[in-house]
Structure formats: C-alpha cells, structure tokens
C-alpha cells in the first residue's frame, strides 16, 4: 500500500475544501472536485461475445453497446467512448482502486485481444450540479444539453471551453425533485487542464452564482 496522504489531486492547491464550507443556498450551480477515481480505458472488439460475457460475469452488468450511454452499478460505472472503447470507473478514492480494477479486467479478459490501460491518474472529475448546470456547460460545449437530448446516464466526449472532456450525466432533474442537487454532471478532464477549466467554469457560472461544495 502507498500512503494516501502523499496523493495530491489536480485542484488540491486551490483549497476548494475550505471554500466549500458555505451553504449552497440559492446558487444555480454547485461545483466540487471528485478526485482520484479509478479509471481504466478498455479497448475490446464488441463482437468478441466470449470476452463480453466474461466481463458481464465479472462486473454484474454488460458494457453499454449504444453510443453515448453508460451502464453500471454502485461499484463500477462503464462509459461508452467509441465503437470498441469504454471507460470503467470506480468512484471511490482508494489509492489501489485503479490498479485493482485493471487487474480485474485483465483477469476477466485473459486470452482475448484487449488493451487495458489505467488512466485514472491522468484525469480529475469536476462535478457540476444544480438547476443551471446544463446552461453553464452549454456555454462551452457544442453538444446539446437540453433535458430531451442529454438524459440521465448519457455520456459523451467533447470539448468544454478549450479543454477536451468526457461528460457523464450522473443524475438528471429528478434528483432535484428528490431533494438532491440535480442535474448532476461529472465532467472528466485531463489533470493538466483542470485548473484552467475550473477557472473557466467559475467565470462562466458567475451569472448563475456558483457554490463550491464539499
């Protein structure tokens, strides 16, 4: 095991935790960093039924086949990235989550042609939630974020401002009705771009009032 305290998230130096003490109040957007997720990039021919079945057996769900969709359970989420490419994401911050996930995949795919590559360290996740979250993301991304077009579970790779990102609509407006902060977007960005993107989001979101939350 590695000491977790040695880890530094992409936005740690901004001191967001200190700022996040305040209440969300009437802010239109709530933002936070969700760092240190275990992410594994998987390249696999979806026509390899045996391998797909092995993954389903290992994870308890099938990889999403439809473009721009996700699948998963509380332990692991799979995001469709391309016709033979997925991300598997373990939301927990445990230092060994990524390597363990990669091992699990390699074991399940033993004997098949697949590329299993850890990429969690290269990304951080900025969670953008709240009633104006769609409007805020729409400012910087040519995708259509209207509730009819981007539904709960949707995911897509695109650009946000001048950074390449992967969007995942973790929960839609129904979460807001349930008293949570919906809609809830997870925006995955390369760690080197994180500070730029955070600054851009705060600037673009100022008109909706941005709350930094824990």
């Amino acid at each position: 095991m590695v000491e977790a305290y040695l880890r530094q998230s992409a936005l740690a130096h901004l001191g967001l935790e200190g700022r996040g003490a305040g209440a969300r109040g009437a802010a239109g957007v709530a933002m936070s960093e969700r760092p240190h997720r275990g992410i594994v990039n998987l390249r696999l021919d979806p026509g390899n039924a045996e391998a797909m079945a092995a993954l389903k057996a290992a994870f308890g769900f099938a990889l999403p086949a439809a473009a721009n969709t996700s699948a998963g359970n509380t332990d692991t989420i799979a995001l469709w990235l391309g016709p033979d490419e997925w991300w598997l994401v373990v939301p927990g911050p445990e230092p060994e989550a990524g390597p363990a996930l990669a091992e699990k995949l390699r074991a399940a795919l033993s004997g098949h042609f697949a590329a299993v590559t850890e990429v969690g360290e290269s990304r951080t996740c900025i969670r953008v939630a709240g009633p104006r979250a769609r409007a805020l993301l729409q400012k910087g991304c040519p995708l259509d974020f209207h509730p009819r077009a981007f539904v709960a579970g949707a995911c897509a790779q695109s650009i946000l401002a001048k950074a390449a990102v992967t969007f995942h609509l973790f929960a839609d407006e129904s979460a807001a009705q349930a008293g949570a902060e919906g809609p809830v977007f997870d925006v995955y960005v390369a760690r080197s771009f994180a500070e730029y993107l955070w600054a851009w989001l705060e600037d673009a979101g100022a008109e909706y009032d941005v709350a930094v939350v824990a």
């Binding site: 590695v2 390249r43 590559t117 360290e121 910087g140 209207h146 001048k162 600037d203 008109e207 009032d209």
Partner: protein, 1011 residues
C-alpha cells in the same frame, strides 16, 4: 427643453418614466420606451451627423436597423461605442451621445468644404489620386483616415464582460413581427423547441409602428396575447434585443443578444452581450422588409425620412417628426403613412406621386380624407441647410425620364415643408436567406429581390418573402411555423386555440407602384444637386454612371469602385436602387445585373462578444504539471511550450536569467540537477503486433529490443521529413511505452492512429494516451545515482543492473515507480515515473534528500543548453518540417532492412542534393558573442543585402562548461565545410564571424552518461 414634438397621447412609451439624456452636450428628456432617435425627434433634433465624404448635414432617416445616417458615438471613456444607430439605441436614463464625423462641431463643420469641392471628389477618387508615388501613400493614408474615420474607438480596456454560448433548437424563428409570432406559435404548438429572436426590445415588428387591427381589435392586443401564449410554453425561448446576424452552413446561426445595454443600472454579474452559436434543425425567416428611398436631387437633407419610419415615430413613439410634410412616393403604401401623419396633426402639404394615375386602397382612403395629391409629379430638388425647408416639384414625362417643360425654374412649383416622407417601395430583408446560400430572384411586379430556392432547411414567412399584407404575413407565418416543426420531426399539435388560427386582418400591400429608379430633375445629373443612392458612403447616381462610363461592368466591381453598399449599413436602403440604376444605364434587365453578395454580420457585432471570456488568463487553455505549485512557490519563470507552462529557469534573489541558467547548467554537470519532465508525451502501446507497428512508424528496428530496455526512435512524415523523436521502452512481451516531445504529443498520437486505423487495421495494436497518467521527475548529474540509491531499497542501480537505456521498477521515496535510465543532457540521468497524484510528493522527497548534493532544479533553458552541448537536436528547433535525418547526419538510425514511413522519400533526388542544409556546430570568433537564433549566415559579406545566404542558426547559447558561446546551425553542404568561416550579418550593421565545427561540443564518447 421640453419634448415639443411629443404627442399628448398614444404610443408605446411610458410617460410616467421620464429619462434624461445628453446629445452633443445638450440635455434633453425622453421617456422609457423611446429609442435615442425618437427621443431626439421628440425634442425637435433632426440634424444628428455629417456625411462620410462630403460632410453634408444628415438627419434621422429610418426607424430601424437600416439607418444610414444617424450613427452616433455612444457614452464616453472606456465604455464608449462608435457608429451606433440612434434608431436602435434604447434610451436609458443618463445616456450620453455625440455626433460623429464632424469637426469642430455638428453645426459648423470644416470638412463640409468637401461638399464645395465635390466635383473634384468623384467615384474612385482615392484610387485615382493616391496611386503615385507609392512612397507618399503613408502620408495620404494619414490624411484620409483623419478625414474619413467615423466614430472613435476607446483607448482604455473594455470594462464590460461578454458571454458566448452554444444553443440548439428545433425551430429558430428570426423576427417577431406578425409573421414571426405566428410561426413561433404554430411551431411551438407541437412542443417543438423554439427560439424566437427579435432585434427590437419589443415583439410585434412592423405592427409596433402601424395602426392596424387584428380580429377587430388593435394589433398590439394580438401581439400581447401571442407573447403571453409563447411565454407560457416551456419549450419556447424568446430572445429580445437579439439580432440573428449570420446564417452559416448546416443551419448554424450567430445571434447577438444585447443583455444590459438598455439598463441604466447594469448588474455586475450579467454580461453586456451574449453571442449565441445556434444549431437549428429548421429555420423560419420572418425578417420583414425595409423601405426604399427614392433617388431624387438632394434627397439627403435632415427632415427627409422614410415614410414608414415617419409612421413608426407617430404610432410607436408618439412623436411628430415634423409639422408640415410632403409625402413623395411611387406606391400606394405611403398613403397609409400620410393618413397616420395627418391623424397625428401633421399638415400634409402634398402627396407627390410618381404614378400618373394613383390608385390602390390607401390612395382611395387618402383621397377620401381630402389629402392633396399631385399625380405624375416628382420632387426635383430640395432646400434647407440643417433641415429641409422647401421642395421643388414638377410634372414628369410619361416615360419618367425627364420633367415636363424641360429645364429651368419655370417648370417647377415650390412647397414649404419641414418633413419629406419618402417611399420607393419595399425590399424584403433577404440578407440571412442569401447568407445561407439561398438563391435570390428579382420580382418585377413587386420591384424587389425575393428569396428563390433555399439551400438549407429554411422556411420563409411574411414580407421577407413578398407577403406584404398583414393577413398574408399571419397566414404564411402559421404555415411556415407548422411546416418547420413537422420537418424537425414533431407531430402536429392538438391545442387549437383561437390565437393559433389565422385571424382576420386587412391584406393591403404597397402595390400598385411605378418603378422610376432615378427621379429626373431639371438639371443634368450630377450638376447642381446630388441624387444620393448610398447615404452612408455618399455615393450618388452620377458616381454609378461614371463608373460604368469608365468601363466597370460587374455590379461587384461597381460596388467596390464607388463604395456603394460598403458602409456599416451595407446598403440596406440603397442597394436595390443602385442595382436598378446600373441596369437601366447598361440597358440590361435587373436580374442580369444581379445582386452583390450579402455577408454577415447583418448588423455590427462587438468584438467583445466574439472574444467572450476567452481573454487574459482564459485566452487559451493552460496546462500545468502536478508539480506546478512547487515551481510557482520557488520562483520559477515559466515558458509556454504548446499549452504547457514549463519552468524556464529558477532565478534566485537578484539573479539575471543568464546567471540563473549558468548556475543550473553547471550544477547538472558538476553535481545534480532535477527537471520536471512530466510534459513529455506518453503513449501506451499494446498488442501482439506492437513491435511490427513500431518498425513501420520509426526509422530504426524494434524487433530485437528486450523487455525492460529503452531505445531512441526517430519518426518521419511520409515526405521523409523529421516529425518527432523520443525514447520508447518495452514494458512487456506485447507492451511498449512511447515518449514524444512535449509539443508533439497530440500530433504524434494522431499520426500513429491514422496509420493504424486507415492503413493497417489488421494489426493487433491498441494505443492509449497516458501522458498525464504519470509525473516524471528526471535526475541528472554525477550524483544522480547516489541520490536515487538513498531513496530506493528495491531497485538495483549498478551499471550492470540498470545500464544506460535500461528500465527498472520499484519504489522511490516509498512510491511505486518506473525508473528509466535515459539522458537528454549527456549526464548520467534517471527519469522517475510515478502516478501523477504522487508527483509532488516525489519531487519534494527528491529535493529534501538532494540537499546534501546541492540539488538544483533546472528549467527548459538550461536543458536546452545541456543538450546542445551534446549536439542533441530538438525537433522544431533544429528541424522545421523541411529537414531529413540525412540532413541531421543521422544516417545511423535509418534501417536498411525494412520499410518505414517516409523511407521512400529519402531517395528522391531532391533529398540527396549535396547543397541541402546540414546540421553543424558553429563557434563565433569572439567567444563572448552569442549569435541570435534565426540569424542568416553568408560566406561573402556585402555592403548591404541582398547577400547569398547559406544557412541559419538554429540554437545558440552561452555555455558555462565551455566558457564561451556556441551554436548549432543548418548550413548548405555544411558537413563538407568543417573549419570554414561563415558570417552572420546582423541588424544594425554588426557582423559576427564564425567557424563551422562538428555539432558535439562535450564528451563525444558519452562517458559521462554511461558510468
């Protein structure tokens, strides 16, 4: 001064909200709901500017976006805005505006001398006068810019902020007049996502300025009901003060929303403008029409206005634009305006109608009301200095080409007036349709250009498609909206309320009309009076005819030569008249002459809106390594490498850059340096064909590289030019990790993917970018191994266990790491890769443990010096896309036993020429002189250029190890010129003499790095 010309009642202004404003320093008052133009007119101010070329007095001409004259400088200081159309400026409390293009004052303008000199200022004047001599152009230009320039651009930084957003909808409706409102209602009834964009602050379009009824009630009631209905629909977005300024490919449109301009107190969190980048599945254009002026002698004086504009000032703003009006028309529509003016208490002195037998519904009503009509007559001249005070009128011949009775004052009668309301018919606003590449056709009956075949998913409604009657506008609006929604894939709606059916309204257009494009006068054209075609650019009918006489034929050429239609208004009022006059003069039909190209933007868009928030710190994305915060805290000066921020050097207290770099360079050679190498590109390569893939992409052979070993590779484009280089390690049987240069990470990844996907999809190879998965801390120097040994227990570091180009795994400072023994400095060097989130911890551990070796962080500048001392190239510095491996003397890395990308190109004859530029070293004869990078080299120095250039300096530094300057250069046939002298003639006359040497200046045997 009170609002003397304000009507006691009516209009859409709020008399309970008076607003104070200043124009040219004088205080005035208007009301909420006024435009600046209507407020000025309410105060009797007609003279608002001077014309562009002749500095003639000009007044408010229109009531909308087409305004050519009333361009004002708005506000003062950093927020000042030039060329703002007073007709579209919402009045706000405290507004200040100033006239433009006049000096020293609007009333007394020295530039007006140009009017007296006008026969010396014909079309093409600038081209003719300033052609020769070229050396004087700079001086002419200064004079012209001073004479011509319209408004003034503020010097200070714009204090406002601007926003941009993407947007999507099923149906965009451009324009919220009756047709647009109907279209939005019909489209949204299906549940379609509709955006309704209106450039005005109010919905209603032409209805705002007309006294019309719909279903027997005032049209404004219908507008209010339509708005309420649209606002109640969740899928509708209404954008007011929003101009659809551009219609681009694939139904992509640009909209400019003016968010706060109309607010006296501007909330700090709101942007001033918002630029909408909209993708619409379907577009309904309901952009209306613009009234045309008539081209008659001296048709430009203040007080001469478009008839429809006069009507709008009376009906919408409750302002009398004059007391005694002459209406001059070629069509029935202006009679409606005359009736509205008369109803507002303006005396109609005469309706001068070019038609010999006026007829039509409005004509009948006006005649019934007893308004005086002069049929078959024309205004042949006007009088009045700062405001029109008299017109001269004469009967015109049957063909409309001349006046009856011939030249001379005798044939004319005069009428005193302070307002001339002009109508030359209407031009549909086809700008957006034309921008979308839709075809435009000329309609002879309507006397205007109409949309023809659409090029995109475009629907048309109302006057922009030639439906000029209100009932037709509503009808075509409902139809277009329903069609658009259906085409966007929505099902017809079921909620049929009264408001959604085409309601009852009159359907009078402006016909019948008589098309007399150039109104005759009693004097020859161009003498004694000016027939203006383009008011903003001061282009007259005589200018057009002169251009044609001088041989210009194409309308596009005539436009550029005369500048007609090239002002900020882009000829919204003048272009059709210009085309018709050209056609008439050439004796060609109008369709054959064609129309000039409509280009975006429809009306001007602030640069701030295009920039949005992409300014200053957010100008471009910046990339930071996980160790960035440490560099910052420790005083690093950063250099931009691509988007990355890399430490350039770390100056101590009072150190200069030179001193800091020398210190860093020396530390690496004498003890220990450390550099943050995280930014190098890293590509994970997996699959059983990985080695084969590398063989094809790199120039050298990869099949025999052992697991756990690294190799330097060179990558070419298919043209044989060096594209990138870097070290690739074999991590496992079918697993490699490639590094690329920092700047080329993305291009190289794309290059690899391109060949893999498009040429060799059969290869079992998969690539993943892992540049940012790892932080890379690189130790270099004689003490590198000693320090690393202190930080690891499980990695054997001996020369045998971990030789140069070896790879080991273990823990460094307790953190799982890969250690690559590779060197870019020529010193013993270890690149430690750890997972990115541990990068800072590793760096700090290295810095702490390295204190006893005086560990020195070094930046990119020291790195460049260190590698150049060794003659190592940097792709993009020694190479520039035109350099082959042979040019670099790297024949050793070209495999003869296999094909690779770019190999065949290396045997093209051009690649083998002996006079290609080759990599060499260069030593100045004066060791203290450092050559500038990029300096051109010559063998023979002449007194002044041109000289025969034989090469250039690619890298140049001072070396504290060599204790002198040194450089790398690309010189023609350089490898055959060792020891020869070349010269670098520099700017300022100094010439540096140098000697050509080999490119390796230090440790040619590589003993330091092997050890």
């Amino acid at each position: 001064m009170t609002q003397r010309f304000r009507l006691p009642e009516g209009g859409l202004i709020d008399r309970a909200k008076p607003l104070g404003f200043r124009f040219d320093g004088t205080r005035y008052q208007g009301y909420a709901g006024d435009s600046l133009a209507s407020a000025l007119l309410a105060n009797g101010v007609h003279l608002v500017g001077r014309s562009f070329k002749y500095h003639r007095p000009r007044g408010i001409f229109s009531a909308g976006a087409e305004e050519p004259n009333a361009l004002v400088q708005l506000g003062a200081g950093a927020r000042s805005d030039a060329n703002m159309r007073a007709t579209q400026v919402d009045l706000v409390d405290g507004l200040t505006a100033a006239s433009q293009n006049c000096w020293p004052s609007l009333g007394f303008d020295l530039g007006a001398i140009n009017n007296q000199l006008s026969r010396f200022l014909p079309a093409g004047f600038y081209y003719k006068t300033f052609m020769w001599p070229a050396a004087l152009w700079m001086r002419y230009e200064w004079v012209i810019r001073h004479a011509a320039g319209m408004g003034k651009v503020p010097d200070a930084r714009d204090p406002d902020h601007y926003d941009k957003t993407y947007a999507h909808c099923d149906v965009l409706v451009a324009g919220a007049g009756p047709a647009g409102l109907a279209a939005a209602l019909a489209a949204s009834e299906t549940g379609a996502r509709v955006i309704l964009a209106e450039q005005d602050g109010e919905l209603g379009g032409a209805l705002l300025g007309l006294d019309e009824t719909i279903d027997g009630a005032p049209a404004r009631d219908w507008v209010a009901a339509a708005r309420a209905e649209l606002e109640a629909r969740e899928s509708v977005t209404i954008l007011t003060r929003t101009t659809v300024y551009g219609y681009f490919d694939h139904n992509f449109l640009g909209l400019l929303e003016r968010v706060t301009d109309h607010l006296a107190e501007k909330p700090a969190r709101l942007p001033r403008h918002r630029l909408w980048k909209l993708r619409a599945k379907q577009v309904v254009l309901a952009t209306g029409a613009i009234e045309r002026p008539l081209v008659f002698s001296d048709n430009d004086r203040p007080g001469i206005m478009l008839a429809g504009a006069c009507q709008a000032y009376v009906n919408r703003y409750a302002v009398k634009p004059g007391s005694k009006a002459v209406v001059f028309t070629n069509n029935d529509g202006a009679y409606g305006a005359a009736l509205d003016l008369a109803a507002a208490g303006i005396e109609i002195a005469a309706i001068v109608d070019l038609r010999p037998d006026p007829e039509g519904p409005a004509t009948e009503r006006a005649e019934a009301a007893g308004l005086p009509v002069l049929a078959g007559h024309a205004i042949i001249g006007t009088r009045g200095d700062q405001r029109v005070d008299q017109v001269r009128i004469a009967r015109i011949s049957a063909d409309g080409a001349s006046i009856v009775g011939g030249a001379g004052e005798g044939a004319a009668q005069t009428i005193d007036c302070d307002l001339v309301a002009v109508s030359g018919g209407w031009s549909p606003t086809v700008h957006l349709f034309s921008q979308s590449r839709g075809k435009i056709r000329f309609d002879a009956e309507l006397g205007c250009f109409l949309p023809g075949d659409a090029a995109q998913a475009t629907h048309l409604a109302g006057a922009c498609n030639g439906a000029f009657g209100l009932a037709s506008c509503l009808q075509t609006g409902f139809e277009a909206g329903a069609q658009a929604a259906k085409a966007a894939g929505l099902k017809p709606g079921k909620r049929r309320r009264k408001i959604q059916k085409a309601p009852e309204a009159s359907d009078d257009g402006f016909l019948p009309a008589r098309w007399t494009w150039l109104v005759p006068s009693d004097r020859p054209l161009g003498q004694g009076g000016k027939h203006f075609v383009d008011l903003q650019n001061d282009v007259t009918a005589a200018d057009l005819k002169l251009a044609l006489r001088e041989g210009y034929r194409s309308v596009e050429h005539v436009k550029r030569y005369t500048t007609t239609g090239m002002g900020t208004d882009q000829g919204k009022t003048g272009n059709v008249n210009a085309i018709a006059i050209i056609a008439e003069t050439q004796g060609r039909p109008i369709p054959e002459v064609g129309v000039t190209t409509f280009r975006p933007p429809y009306t001007a868009v602030t640069f701030g809106a295009f920039a949005g928030r992409d300014i200053e710190d957010l100008l471009d994305a910046t990339r930071r390594t996980p160790i960035h915060a440490w560099h910052q805290r420790n005083g690093a000066v950063f250099e931009d490498v691509g988007q990355w921020k890399r430490p350039w050097y770390y100056p101590k207290a009072s150190e200069s850059m030179h001193d800091a770099v020398n210190r860093e360079v020396k530390a690496v050679r004498s003890s220990l340096g450390v550099v943050d190498a995280t930014t190098l590109g890293k590509i994970d390569i997996q699959g059983k064909d990985a080695a084969e893939f590398l063989n094809r992409m790199y120039t050298n052979a990869w099949s025999k590289l052992e697991v756990g070993k690294c190799r330097y590779g060179l990558m070419l484009g298919e043209d044989g030019m060096v594209m990138d280089d870097g070290v690739t390690a074999r991590l496992g049987e079918h697993h490699y990790l490639m590094t690329t240069t920092t700047g080329n990470a993305a291009p190289v990844f794309g290059h690899l993917e391109e060949f893999l996907q498009t040429e060799w999809p059969e290869l079992e190879v998969r690539l993943t970018s892992v540049t940012e998965q790892f932080a890379t801390v690189s130790l270099a120097g004689p003490n590198a191994r000693r320090l690393l040994a202190e930080l690891t227990q499980d990695i054997e570091l001996s020369a045998n266990a971990l030789p140069h180009m070896g790879l080991a795994r273990g823990r460094v400072a307790g953190i799982p790491a890969r250690v690559f023994r590779v060197s870019f400095t020529g010193e013993m060097s270890f690149e430690i890769n750890v997972r990115a989130s541990y990068g800072l911890a590793l760096w700090q551990a290295v810095m702490t443990a390295g204190e006893k070796y005086d560990i020195t962080p070094y930046g990119t500048e020291a790195m460049h010096v260190l590698r150049a001392e060794k003659g190592f190239i940097i792709v993009g510095q020694e190479t520039d896309g035109s350099v082959t491996p042979l040019d670099l003397g790297m024949d050793w890395i070209l495999s003869k036993n296999k094909d690779f990308i770019g190999k065949r190109s290396l045997t093209r004859p051009d690649m083998l020429k002996p006079d290609r530029k080759q990599l060499v070293g260069l030593l100045t004869e004066d060791p203290a002189e450092v050559l500038p990078e990029g300096a051109q080299l010559v063998e023979t120095v002449l007194a002044k250029p041109p000289m025969v250039m034989v090469g250039h300096v690619s890298s140049s530094y001072h070396s504290p190890n060599l204790e002198r300057s040194f450089a790398l250069a690309m010189i023609k046939g350089g490898r055959g010129k060792m020891g020869q002298r070349v010269f670098a003639p520099l700017q300022g006359g100094k010439t540096l003499a140098c000697t050509i040497t080999g490119p390796v200046f230090l440790d040619p045997e590589g003993e330091r790095l092997r050890g």
